[in-house]
């Protein structure tokens, strides 16, 4: 029986035994529980949701605690289990690792929770949160020191008790849910402790922790926001619309999506703020807030000082934009270096030092790079190039700010090598293999090999080049190393040339046969070019002997045109012409312009070694009066006496020698 006792001293009523109320109890004023609690038993009573009131109850069907808020226009029921599903395993306090001796370490007293989510496909999760509290816990490295360089230590539950656990590899995947990782104990000599480090996963402040993570990347460009020249001037820019992630910048437009920004238009009127760092501070040249209508390719930041870009040089300028911008302006950083060519500037994208100002680092997205020649304007394609940024900011060598690094995604930046069997990639396709043909744009250097005989030819000293008629070069081909043709045991070197019809070829050289081309006239037809068969180094005039068939044109009057020239080196190391056959058949010896069928500049010597006479040199330049000859080709030296004899009325002479 319940008794109600009235205390006459404070005029309050107190129940001193259990009270059961079978109907509603309405209390006006506060309820205070002293050394007690509220207990809710499951109920199947329906709540009057039309009444503006809030309720706490345990469902008779699920046995779970619910919160119900009702009022005009809404009613909302929240199950405690759903809220528990957002708790996570981690440390609540304490838990510092210290070294106690050469082999013993300690985790200081603390507390934490372990949340088992118990999620299934069939039912709502019913998380079980276990609170653990512990005093100082000590352990030895003995179980791991012999087999591992470190012990990853954690707190876990053994029944209702917190215990220390460790393993030789980092906690991963689901282990984070059932253990509270505390840190690491190093024992890299495999016997004693040489260091400890505490880096727990904490159970609180998820939003703050995740925001730290987000800010490490900076605002993100998700899609769109493409940079393009505008028609208003040769240096003006516009920006297309796009989507971006910037924490809070969409709040005023849609508080339900405060971070996700969708803009139909970026910048439609060219307006540029010019940024650069002096090294100690930032210069924000906004043109008094009005901005500039055009880019400035003529200057760069030379160690903080704006300096003219040398003639023909290039710079890299970075473009940023604040989504849902108040100013609708580009924020463009001057480059910090100059490059002699655009290719060098492209290489500089990954190496140029870049420091980003705090305001763009915190709130703007990176649009991309502009590669600008010193006199760039957007009507001259060769004077500039845009490189669109990807999700993240670029890699900056040695710079600060601007969030973390990362490479741009396909379609955003130049792609140097692609394998493309389906679909297409964006960017500049420098080298593309489409499954059949290797397409190269620009120059190519290095090795080009076919299928390796092993899975990785890099791991074996030998491999077979199986490229066969699969590489076509429409430009020039040069090599600094050996150029081999038909280098296999089953084929020989063959050089072919294209002929009509297209796709057909005829052999002009084959190993073992030599020059075999029969088109159009001879087997060696240079079509008017000089044939030079000199031995030695032509670049330093260090030839040996040789023959030159010159052909300066069929119409040449004399000398060089159609001549055959014989040269060799003299004793004074000079390369000299010795004999020439001219276009009209004159043979010159020691003279380059012979005027007779045989023109010798110098002496002629005729010997008859069998008889021993005459042996002296005869004749001299320009005269033949010491020559005597007969019809049968004997040439005589001057006799001592001419014998004159008359035969049939005609005189004849015989040379007589004493």
């Amino acid at each position: 029986m319940t008794r109600l006792i009235s205390n006459i001293n404070d005029n309050r009523a107190r129940y001193v035994a259990p009270v059961e109320i079978s109907s509603s109890l309405t209390v006006t004023g506060s309820i205070t529980l002293t050394d007690s609690f509220l207990k809710f038993k499951p109920t199947n009573v329906n709540i009057n949701t039309n009444e503006s009131a809030s309720y706490i109850y345990v469902s008779g069907s699920t046995q779970d605690l619910y919160f119900s808020q009702n009022g005009s226009g809404f009613n909302n029921v929240t199950r405690l289990r759903w809220l528990e599903g957002n708790l996570y395993t981690g440390l609540l306090h304490g838990g510092l690792i210290t070294s106690q001796s050469s082999t013993m370490y300690q985790i200081s007293s603390g507390s934490g929770i372990i949340v088992k989510l118990n999620a299934t496909i069939a039912n709502d999760p019913y998380p079980i949160t276990q609170y653990l509290e512990w005093n100082n816990l000590s352990a030895s490295i003995a179980s791991l020191s012999a087999s591992s360089d470190w012990s990853f230590v954690a707190i876990t539950a053994s029944g209702a008790t917190a215990v220390l656990t460790s393993k030789g590899t980092p906690y991963e995947n689901g282990e984070y849910n059932t253990n509270i990782p505390i840190g690491i104990v190093l024992h890299q000599n495999r016997s004693t402790i040489n260091g400890v480090q505490t880096f727990p996963g904490v159970a609180y402040g998820w939003k703050q922790r995740s925001f730290d993570f987000i800010r490490a990347f900076g605002p993100l460009k998700i899609a769109g926001y493409n940079l393009a020249p505008s028609a208003s001037s040769t240096g003006s820019l516009v920006l297309s619309g796009g989507t971006a992630f910037v924490d809070g910048r969409n709040y005023t437009i849609d508080p339900n999506n405060p971070n996700y920004i969708v803009e139909a238009n970026g910048i439609t009127t060219s307006k540029i703020f010019r940024y650069h760092s002096t090294g100690s501070t930032w210069v924000y040249n906004t043109n008094n807030g009005a901005g500039f209508g055009a880019i400035d390719p003529t200057r760069y930041s030379n160690n903080g000082v704006l300096t003219s870009v040398p003639t023909n040089d290039w710079t890299i300028q970075r473009v940023f934009y604040f989504p849902n911008s108040a100013t609708k302006a580009f924020f463009i950083y001057y480059g910090n270096a100059t490059y002699s060519t655009k290719e060098n500037a492209i290489a500089g994208l990954l190496t140029e030092t870049f420091n980003e100002a705090p305001n763009t680092a915190a709130n703007s997205i990176f649009i991309g790079y502009m590669l600008l020649r010193y006199n760039a304007n957007f009507t001259t394609a060769a004077s500039y190039e845009f490189r669109s940024a990807g999700l993240f900011r670029s890699v900056g060598q040695g710079g600060t700010g601007g969030g973390g690094g990362g490479t741009t995604t396909p379609g955003g930046s130049p792609t140097q090598i692609q394998y493309n069997n389906v679909g297409t990639f964006g960017g500049v396709q420098t080298l593309v293999y489409d499954g059949t043909t290797l397409h190269a744009t620009g120059s190519f250097s290095g090795s080009l090999v076919g299928t390796a005989t092993s899975a990785s030819f890099a791991s074996t000293a030998s491999y077979v080049n199986t490229l066969q008629q699969n590489v076509q070069i429409t430009g020039s081909l040069s090599t600094q190393g050996t150029f081999s043709i038909g280098r296999s045991t089953t084929s020989q070197a063959v050089i072919q040339r294209a002929q009509t019809p297209a796709g057909s070829y005829s052999t002009i050289f084959a190993a073992g046969t030599g020059i075999v081309d029969t088109f159009p006239y001879t087997q060696l037809d240079t079509h008017g070019a000089t044939i030079d068969m000199r031995a030695g180094d032509p670049t330093s005039d260090q030839y040996g002997g040789g023959i030159i068939f010159t052909a300066n044109g069929h119409t040449s009057a004399l000398g060089e045109g159609n001549a055959i020239v014989f040269k060799n080196r003299s004793s004074s190391n000079t390369y000299l012409e010795r004999m020439r056959i001219t276009y009209d058949g004159n043979v010159g010896i020691n003279i380059s312009a012979p005027s007779a069928k045989l023109h010798v500049d110098g002496t002629i010597r005729i010997d008859n070694q069998a008889s021993g006479t005459p042996t002296a040199a005869v004749g001299s330049a320009g005269t033949v009066n010491k020559y005597w000859g007969t019809a049968d080709g004997d040439f005589l030296s001057t006799p001592n006496v001419w014998l004159k004899i008359n035969l049939g009325g005609t005189d004849y002479y015989f040379p007589a020698y004493t």
Binding site: W642, N646, L647, Y653
Partner: protein, 54 residues
Amino acid sequence: MIKSTPEFEARIKASKVPVLEITLEQLLQSKLATEEEIWYLRNKDVSTTDLVST
């Protein structure tokens, strides 16, 4: 054997090499030519012998 021409006579004169006129018989007797060579000279169609080198 060289057939005489005015140009050849002039060159012999300019060379100052002495000229000794002999008959075919004296040539035979002088032993300057063999019998075979003399026979060749007697039967040669000398009209075809020319000075070919000047």
